[in-house]
């Protein structure tokens, strides 16, 4: 049997939103190279619980890269060193035996730490809410293909809709800007005939809310796209700029 690996973890511990927080160093042993990053934390937490210590709090849910709940800043990068995956899809084989791994929460004024590595991302929900409703006809489900949509547009909309709202873009951005997230949500509808009526209002309201939440502005470093687990492209940000500016200048 393969010998388990050991890691030194430097983990951000913070009792609650009001307390100061600090790094604590832990040793985990006997980790299989095939285990996921979150399983490795589970192993550590089990030990901590047995010792009567407070386990490390971190967000997770689906553990298969679709819900956007997991959110760890690992060795200086959101979701760790691999491209286009979430932390829950990250495996320990990515790290060398004996390596020191630093784990931090997302850092942004708009994402305050709740406890340890868990941050409050409800700012994203409020941005979505600010976008409001779209008008659709109720009644029987419409026929498929009743509304013609060009394939290219459908593709762009689907790519944008791949955003799982994890906040890695905010975590990666030197300005803690939410532009990629908002851009994905705006693009997703801007490319489709559904929601056309509310198009201008939506762009204005979502950007307004984004600013209100205290996210930074976009310097076009494109760090967001590079770190996005779903590979959302920064071209959507150009579309957001276009949507916002044209809506402002034509309404």
């Amino acid at each position: 049997m393969e010998k388990g690996r050991s890691y030194t973890l430097k983990v951000w511990r913070q009792k609650n939103a009001a307390s100061r927080g600090e790094f604590k160093t832990y040793q985990v042993n006997d980790v299989s190279s095939g285990s996921s990053f979150l399983e490795m934390l589970d192993i550590l937490n089990e030990e901590l619980t047995k010792k009567g210590e407070d386990p490390i709090h971190f967000d997770h849910d689906c553990r298969e890269g679709i819900c956007g709940t997991c959110s760890l800043f690992i060795n200086g990068r959101p979701h760790g060193p691999e491209e286009e995956i979430t932390v829950c899809q990250l495996h320990m084989r990515t790290f060398q035996d004996g390596q020191t791994i630093t784990i931090e929460p997302w850092r942004a004024r708009a994402f305050p730490v709740i406890k340890d590595l868990v941050v409050d991302r409800s700012a994203f929900d409020r941005i979505i809410q600010a976008g409001g409703f779209i008008s659709v006809n109720t009644g029987a489900a419409p026929d498929a293909n009743a509304i013609p949509i060009a394939r290219e547009n459908a593709e762009v909309a689907m790519d944008a809709a791949a955003c799982i709202g994890c906040g890695a873009c905010v975590a990666a951005c030197k300005n803690a800007s939410a532009m990629l997230f908002v851009a994905a949500k705006i693009s997703q509808l801007a490319m489709l005939p559904q929601g056309k009526v509310e198009r201008k209002r939506r762009a204005q309201k979502m950007v307004e809310q984004m600013d209100k939440e205290g996210f930074g502005s976009c310097t076009n470093t494109y760090a967001c796209s590079a770190e996005c687990p779903k590979g959302i492209e920064f071209t959507h940000i150009a579309r957001l700029n276009r949507e916002y500016l044209t809506s402002k200048f034509t309404s």
Binding site: G76, A108, K174
Partner: protein, 226 residues
């Protein structure tokens, strides 16, 4: 809030102003470089002095120059304003950051580079513009065509090695600033297209290298070959 303040104080609105002033400054640099090429003419500065006199008396150019001053000012002030709000957006930083993996140094250092460029602009204006505008005719010798001999001032100034170093640092900072800034201005405007964006990016890189290099050639030429 009125439509105007709401639009231009929003994050995207402020970026729009950065982009528009940036593009104006980019266009200015081309004109500035082309005109100044007169420095290389071996005529004791006559062509250069005639060009300077034209630039400071033509009404149209004079009015555009006020747009230029305003653009430099607005670009700097709004940059500082954005920078402060962006710093506030992340009050607590990361202990370990591996930003080189996801973005270029230039794109993350626009404030530093821009500040260097601004300091350079102030020095540059003090060296020539201030003297030319504020210095009376008595401070200048008059060349054979009857124009203020700005060329003599330029030639004397560029003979100093300190000036040469300051100009080279300023221009390198400008080059890196533009390396990111050129395409960034278009992204902010929302100009993004499969076909045109690669061309804009390529043009931006060419511009970032050749325009500052063209400017740098002037002090270098005078320092070493005059």
């Amino acid at each position: 809030m009125s439509w105007f303040t709401e639009t231009f104080t929003s994050s995207i609105g402020r970026k729009l102003l950065m982009s528009l002033t940036g593009i104006f400054l980019i266009m200015f640099l081309v004109i500035h470089l082309l005109g100044n090429l007169a420095v290389f003419k071996e005529d004791g500065g006559e062509a250069f002095n005639a060009y300077s006199a034209f630039m400071s008396t033509n009404v149209l150019i004079k009015s555009v120059s006020y747009v230029l001053y305003l653009s430099i000012l607005a670009h700097s002030v709004i940059a500082a304003w954005l920078w402060i709000s962006n710093k506030k957006a992340r009050p607590a930083g990361y202990a370990v950051s591996n930003a080189n993996e996801n973005s270029t140094w230039a794109s993350r250092s626009m404030m530093l580079l821009g500040s260097l460029v601004l300091i350079f602009i102030v020095i540059h204006l003090k060296d020539f513009w201030w003297q030319f505008k504020m210095g009376g005719t008595t401070d200048f010798e008059i060349d054979t065509l009857g124009n203020k001999n700005l060329y003599a001032l330029v030639a004397a100034q560029f003979k100093s090695s300190a000036t040469l170093v300051i100009y080279l640092i300023g221009l390198i900072a400008l080059a890196i600033h533009l390396w990111h800034g050129f395409q960034s201005a278009f992204q902010t405007l929302g100009i993004e297209h499969e076909r045109y964006t690669p061309a804009i990016r390529f043009l931006g890189k060419l511009y970032a290298v050749f325009i500052p290099a063209g400017f740098a050639a002037m002090p270098v030429y005078i320092f070493f070959f005059k």
